[in-house]
């Protein structure tokens, strides 16, 4: 029956592979093609203009600052999300201390887990509406309302939050972290529970404190999961389109005020849809593709460690 193996495997693979090629690979290739044209995005008419779009792109200050904002997100988002998720997961699974000994989470861990996961079930659209209410610029906003009531800010000049050039991007980052922590908490919890309890018990008997248990045992044993989380979050940081485009001010896909929260995706969309510079936007798409690809490869390489067997 051996000779029947390959047709059997191919039979299963052919449909997904064809779908993948047609729906994923082919559009990517097309984007490369379109990026060499002056396509307007409103019809199939276009002229080949070589690398002119790319030359223009590297002299475009708005795009350069958008790349900068994405890189800032790339630094902040994975670090903050992973640290918070790890801390909470540790507290919920092994951080508790009880009189009888043994390994367990803090009191009410099961309840907290549900609460933390809650943001994950909300769609991005709901998140956006919800947090626009939180960040609203008059006293009707949750934050401004509280701050004004507490007398911490002047009711005549409330904080601008998303509309403030220095705060806007951070406000969005806050929402991204808030919505992401729950998922990674559950991911890390699952990984922690697969660590044999006797390792922790041995550490406890040796008198290890919480911090020591965390750094000497939990972190090394979770390394692979953290690495996965890192790559996912890096890709999320390169995107962030839905929240930035709906929450921040600015004509057509946000990015304001005055490009202060501009990211690559919002600038791409504005050029693609609004300004009719689809060829130029495709060139941005290609640049984003390569940046994301390089970052994924680099972060996988840099974080590579020897696997610990247990």
């Amino acid at each position: 029956m051996r000779h029947r193996k390959y047709p059997f495997i191919v039979g299963f693979l052919i449909v997904p592979v064809v779908l993948y090629v047609v729906l994923v690979i082919w559009p990517y290739l097309q984007t490369f093609g379109y990026s060499l044209t002056d396509w307007s995005g409103a019809s199939q008419k276009m002229n080949f203009i070589g690398l002119r779009n790319y030359a223009k792109l590297f002299g475009d200050n708005v795009f350069i600052s958008a790349v900068g904002h994405n890189l800032l997100l790339l630094l902040v988002l994975p670090v903050a999300t992973i640290l918070l998720a790890l801390f909470f997961a540790f507290m919920l699974n092994v951080g508790g201390r009880s009189g009888t000994g043994g390994v367990q989470g803090v009191r009410g861990a099961a309840f907290y887990k549900i609460i933390f996961f809650f943001p994950q079930v909300l769609s991005v659209a709901i998140l956006s509406v919800l947090f626009q209410g939180v960040y609203r610029t008059d006293q009707g906003g949750l934050l401004n309302g509280i701050l004004v009531k507490l007398g911490l800010e002047d009711a005549g000049h409330p904080w601008q939050w998303l509309a403030d050039p220095d705060l806007g991007l951070w406000c969005v980052t806050g929402v991204l972290i808030w919505s992401g922590v729950g998922f990674y908490l559950v991911l890390f919890s699952a990984a922690m529970q697969s660590v044999p309890k006797d390792i922790y018990e041995a550490a406890l008997l040796d008198g290890a404190k919480r911090a020591q248990t965390f750094f000497k045992i939990t972190l090394p044993l979770l390394w692979e999961t953290i690495q996965t989380a890192w790559v996912y979050l890096a890709i999320a940081a390169m995107d962030a389109f839905a929240l930035v485009s709906t929450m921040t001010p600015g004509a057509y896909y946000g990015g304001g005020p005055d490009h202060h929260s501009e990211i690559m995706a919002t600038y791409l969309m504005r050029n693609f849809i609004t300004f009719g510079k689809a060829g130029y936007a495709c060139a941005m798409g290609v640049v984003i593709f390569f940046i994301t690809l390089i970052l994924s490869v680099v972060s996988l390489r840099v974080t590579r460690r020897e696997k610990i067997e247990f």
Binding site: V22, L23, W26, P27, L29, Q30, T31, G33, Y34, T37, W39, S40, G41, A42, S43, Q44, K45, M46, F48, V124, A125, S128, R136, T137, D138, Q139, G140, G141, N144, A155, G156, H157, P158, Q160, W161, L162, A163, D164, P165, D239, F241, A242, S245, T246, P249, G250, A251, Y252, Y253, P257, D258, H259, A265, M269, R270, F272, I273, T274, F275, G276
Partner: protein, 465 residues
């Protein structure tokens, strides 16, 4: 207008995939680049003008389906359904598909690319397909044949004879009329006549009086001025109108043409400096610089602010939250000393562009639909359903009862007479407009001053299409 429609980046990949599937049929990437899928051009066979007669100038085939897409914004989309009923009365066999949406671009861009656009589109709102882009890509039908077609209510006249002045110009790019701007929109400041009466405030005629009144209003504990901060183009209605009145119609033309020298005209600095007095006097509704149009207009309806800038769609847009005795009223932008245009002059003109794509399957039906909109019956139905005026001359019969805001704006239009002006750059110079909006947002936040605003406006002219 200006709604923050939810949007997902995945949509664009879905669209890319859709384009791909279509292009895949043509064999290679180059073939796709070279233009179209071949199948779309076959649909063009029913070119209008063939087989037309006086009663049916475009040669509509009664059984052809009609595909209508309407921007469901400040005017809603109920009015379009009554137009569709009118169309069905004449062409009973026509199957009409109606889509009312705020997502014009996301829904229609892939259809344009695939060569399968609808037959009539009300192309408006924050997600509108830009007319300059569509015209550049040869996607729009030249509406000259509509202008030369007989007027349905009186076949001795042509459509071009019954349109309000400026309508044709507003939709003309490169000598071709590509969009019928159907709604006669008036732009300016709005206030509650009841509030002003209760407080004994006189409506200001000059900008100095306006600024003085702002001080009085502030002292009474109400914010004098609100604007739709997240969408700075509303504030531009005030700034650019001050500039237009000060500098005159030639300056309006130069600004529309993205002529950099327009920005050296002292009228530009005078206008924006006058506007800046609002910031100097701290007359803004707290938080208004970051609020959406809905948030700020609602606050205004609740009496938290006295004035707000907007177009005449405002009354219909806010109809659900406006108190019954609000008595909405319109005020043209007050005048500055030395103005070239009189105090009664207003920014007014044709808005809400309706287009017939050049690749529409039922192009004749689309043109006929527009012709039916331009009847007394159509115009009256629009006025009743959307509380706004249309570009049809004397388009409203005595039987149509106007709401106070619409009535007051039509009084202002009558008072202005021939002294109306309008800017076309928001429709036809999108990249320039976006830059100018960014500059205005910086200005209202006092991060830049009037001189910097002028400099940024001048620099933005380099974005000319």
């Amino acid at each position: 207008m200006g709604s923050a429609t939810e949007y997902n980046r995945r949509d664009i990949f879905k669209r890319a995939a859709a384009v791909t599937v279509l292009a895949a049929g043509s064999g290679s990437l180059l073939a796709a680049c070279a233009g179209g899928t071949g199948s779309s051009s076959d649909n063009n066979s029913a070119a209008p003008g063939t087989g037309g007669n006086a009663a049916n100038p475009f040669g509509v085939k009664a059984g052809d389906p009609l595909d209508v897409v309407i921007f469901k914004g400040g005017y809603g989309d109920d009015y379009a359904k009554s137009f569709e009923d009118m169309y069905k009365k004449t062409y009973a066999g026509a199957n009409i598909s109606h889509l009312g949406t705020q997502d014009i671009s996301p829904k229609l861009q892939p259809r344009f690319n695939a060569g399968n656009p609808p037959d009539v589109i009300d192309d408006s709102g924050a997600q509108q397909l830009k007319i300059d882009v569509l015209a550049g890509a040869d996607q729009l039908t030249d509406l000259t044949k509509l202008l030369d077609a007989p007027y349905l209510d009186d076949p001795s006249k042509k459509i071009r004879d019954v349109l309000l002045p400026g309508t044709i110009e507003q939709g003309t790019i490169g000598g071709k009329m590509v969009s019928l701007n159907y709604v006669y929109t008036v732009f300016g400041l709005w206030y509650s006549a009841k509030l002003f009466k209760d407080k004994g405030w006189a409506v200001p005629k000059t900008w100095d009086e306006f600024i003085t009144l702002c001080g009085t209003i502030k002292a009474a504990g109400i914010a004098p001025f609100a604007h739709q901060g997240k969408y700075p183009y509303y504030a531009n209605y005030v700034i650019l109108d001050l500039i237009a009145k000060q500098g005159g119609l030639d300056l309006v033309k130069k600004i529309d043409a993205c002529d950099a020298t327009a920005w050296d005209d002292p009228a530009v600095l005078a206008g924006v400096t006058a506007f800046y007095k609002i910031m100097d006097g701290d007359f803004l509704l707290p938080g208004t610089n970051g609020m959406t149009h809905t948030e700020s207009q609602t606050a205004w309806c609740q009496g938290k602010a006295a004035f707000i800038p907007s177009g005449s769609w405002l009354e219909n847009e806010m109809i659900k939250v406006t108190p019954a005795d609000f008595d909405m009223a319109f005020l043209p932008i007050p005048s500055l000393s030395g103005d070239k245009l009189p105090a009664t002059a207003v920014r007014a003109g044709a808005g809400e562009p309706f287009i017939v794509p050049s690749k529409a399957k039922n192009q004749a039906g689309g043109l006929e639909f527009l012709r039916m909109m331009l009847t007394k019956e159509g115009s009256g139905k629009f006025a009743a359903a959307a509380n706004s005026l249309t570009v049809l001359k004397d388009g409203i019969g005595a039987d149509v009862v106007l709401k106070p805001g619409t009535k007051s704006s039509s009084v202002a239009v009558t008072a202005a007479g021939s002294n109306t002006f309008n800017f076309s750059y928001p429709d036809l110079q999108t990249a320039f407009d976006t830059e100018l909006q960014n500059a205005t947002n910086e200005l209202v936040n006092k991060r830049i001053g009037p001189k910097d605003w002028v400099a940024r406006g001048k620099a933005a002219t380099s974005k000319k299409v």
